[in-house]
């Protein structure tokens, strides 16, 4: 296990990058603590897989250094870094049995056969495939194959970190839950440093202690799931996390009051926003629909099961509100913003509000 320092790493797939936009990874500077469970969350093409491949050594960064426990490993090969990685699509060795698939990484490292056997049997129990040890791997279902890929990562107990690149994409929803909780258990039991790339917020929020949100080649926020939900540092995080995403409304500021069209919204404090585009962000969960507050016209009510999402028009802007499954939409609906859920953004970045 290791602490991983990503030291001012930039990466471009071009040979001669000039502008900022040539970089797939603009500049990442972050420490993955030893034994932490991290999720890298972001939309497709934001650089999460690039960052992961740089950590595992499949890619060499254009700039910057990578440290494992303080030791510079930037120029070491994947094998020397001793990393395990699980890919989006199951990678199995067709011609081998399940057992041999798991033994493969150990045998390549010339581990004595007795130890190989012990480790493989342990891992087979862990991933629940002990009964299939002697089956040919190619005959298995997609989720069993992915378990084998997973198992090949877990079988080496001395790895510095285990990296996951959207490993549950091809798995059925029901199995996703099962595998994810198994991973979580393994993490608790063995304390691996795990980095898990995904574009699925549920996956990220349930798996990780710390979620790293990436956008356009940069890390925009690192935090616990609760922090990301309550205090998104960037409007992108607000949109991206939550279902539906955060309502972001352009406002004008007047001390402790935000002006939205003809409406005046009281803020919990006075934001220290300078010039620039000022926006008010509030999650649908903090929008209270009732008979008091600002008048809205409801355009649509979506019943999503456990609750309802109300789409409404406030001062010409679309907003969403979440109400209980049994709540009714009043005849003359009005909304109120819960002050605890209000965030103010200047040029898309969150600003603190003083008392």
């Amino acid at each position: 296990m290791a602490r991983i320092d990503v030291n001012h790493i930039r990466h471009s797939y071009l040979t001669n990058p000039k502008e900022d936009s040539d970089f797939a990874l603009k500049e990442v500077h972050h420490t993955f603590e030893d034994g932490g469970a991290y999720a890298l969350l972001g939309p497709s093409g934001c650089g999460k897989t690039t960052l992961l491949n740089i950590i595992s050594g499949l890619l060499h960064p254009s700039h910057g250094q990578l440290l494992f426990n303080g030791r510079n490993v930037t120029n070491l090969s994947t094998q020397e870094r001793n990393i395990a990685q699980v890919f989006q699509f199951p990678v199995i060795y067709d011609t081998m049995t399940v057992y041999d698939n798991l033994a493969f990484p150990l045998r390549n490292r010339r581990v004595p056969e007795a130890d190989v056997d012990r480790k493989v049997r342990e891992t087979l129990d862990m991933i629940d495939l002990a009964s299939m040890a002697n089956r040919k791997a190619r005959r298995l279902t997609a989720d069993q194959k992915q378990k084998i890929s997973l198992g090949r990562g877990l079988v080496r107990s001395d790895v510095n970190a285990i990296l996951f690149d959207e490993p549950l994409t091809v798995i059925d929803p029901h199995m996703k839950w099962v595998l994810r909780s198994q991973l979580k258990q393994l993490h608790r039991r063995f304390g691996y440093t795990m980095v898990y790339v995904t574009h699925d917020q549920t996956e990220a929020l349930t798996f990780a202690d710390r979620v790293v949100v990436m956008y356009d080649g940069e890390i925009v926020q690192i935090g616990t799931p609760a922090e990301l939900f309550e205090r998104p540092r960037h409007t992108f995080v607000g949109y991206f996390i939550g279902s539906p995403g955060m309502n972001v409304l352009p406002v004008a500021l007047e001390g402790r009051t935000a002006l939205l069209g003809s409406q005046r919204i009281e803020l919990p404090g006075a934001p220290k926003a300078e010039a620039g585009l000022v926006e008010l962000g509030i999650r649908p969960e903090y929008v209270r629909l009732g008979r008091e507050g600002m008048a809205v016209s409801v355009s649509k009510v979506e019943d999503v099961g456990r609750h309802k999402v109300v789409r409404a028009n406030l001062e010409g802007k679309e907003i969403a509100a979440v109400i209980g499954e049994d709540d009714e939409v009043p005849a003359e609906p009005r909304v109120r913003f819960d002050p605890a859920g209000i965030n103010i953004y200047a040029d898309s970045w969150r600003v603190e509000m003083g008392a």
Binding site: T78, Q85, V91, Y93, D94, M96, F104, P105, N108, R152
Partner: protein
């Protein structure tokens, strides 16, 4: 569900039946017809029964040609398949080198058989051939017109030159279809170059290799034009393969009956061996 019976449907398959009849069934039946009769010309035929078949199977000439054919096929498969895999593995996977390599590889395949024969016939000559002249100039006694071994070497090198590309292109197609993730996973798992070949590339190439082996076997077993142009079956009978012998018999000696019997046996052998190859390799595939 009730099935509708309508004999008019036969009209729909009629065109293809007619086509197959004229292109395959009728010629084949003509050959069958010749094989059981004897003729002295003037379109006069006498019933001969199985005489030609018995004579053929008892003749040394036939079995010797057959042995030459089998040895030839075995040698060129043993060279072309590993060589083809080796070249395919070393071809670039991206960049400007890909089209260059592909075109270079496809070139020999585009040359007509008799032209290939002529090229090598001239290339190997002692007096004016680039290869023949310089090999002799280096003190190696090489003369494919007189020495059976030299004739064999020439014919084999020619076939390797002509057909290895086919194996290369098929293998290359198999190789480029392997997703990157497999190579990345192999790196993570610490696999050696050999292990990557043995456990990732070879299994993924297996299907195309099956096709390559089948095609190369059938083609080499039926080889005619190139050795005919280069050596004409000689020196002596040393490069007389079944097809060359067959043409000699049918068109040289005009022995229609024995030649027909021989083509049928030849046809059945190719059919049988191809079937054996195919079954063995697909069964092997299913077992795993």
């Amino acid at each position: 569900m009730e099935k509708t019976w309508n004999n008019k449907a036969w009209f729909l398959v009629l065109p293809v039946l007619v086509l197959v009849a004229f292109s395959a069934v009728i010629p084949l039946m003509t050959v069958v017809n010749y094989s059981v009769q004897d003729t002295f010309g003037n379109n006069v035929f006498f019933w001969a029964g199985t005489e030609w078949f018995e004579e053929l199977l008892a003749s040394d000439r036939f079995w010797e040609a057959m042995a030459r054919n089998l040895i030839f096929s075995f040698i060129i498969l043993a060279i072309e398949v590993p060589l083809g895999i080796f070249i395919a593995l070393n071809m670039p996977k991206k960049g400007w080198g890909v089209p260059v390599c592909l075109v270079l590889m496809a070139l020999p395949l585009l040359i007509p058989w008799n032209v290939v024969g002529t090229i090598w016939q001239v290339f190997g000559r002692n007096d004016i051939g680039l290869l023949g002249y310089y090999v002799n100039a280096f003190g190696i006694d090489y003369n494919y017109v007189q020495d059976p071994i030299d004739a064999w070497v020439t014919v084999i090198i020619m076939d390797v030159w002509h057909w290895t590309s086919l194996v290369v292109l098929l293998c290359y197609a198999g190789l480029v279809s392997i997703p990157d993730a497999f190579y990345q996973a192999a790196k993570i798992d610490g696999a050696s170059r050999w292990a990557v070949f043995r456990y990732i590339q070879l299994p993924k190439m297996q299907r195309v290799l099956l096709i390559a082996v089948l095609l190369r076997f059938m083609d080499s077993f039926m080889i005619y034009t190139e050795p005919f142009v280069v050596t004409g079956g000689g020196p002596g009978n040393s490069t007389t393969f079944l097809s060359i012998d067959l043409v000699k018999m049918a068109l040289g000696q005009f022995d229609l009956g024995p030649a027909a019997a021989m083509s049928l046996v030849y046809f059945l052998i190719i059919l049988l061996l191809s079937w054996v190859f195919y079954t063995v390799m697909t069964n092997y595939d299913a077992e795993r």
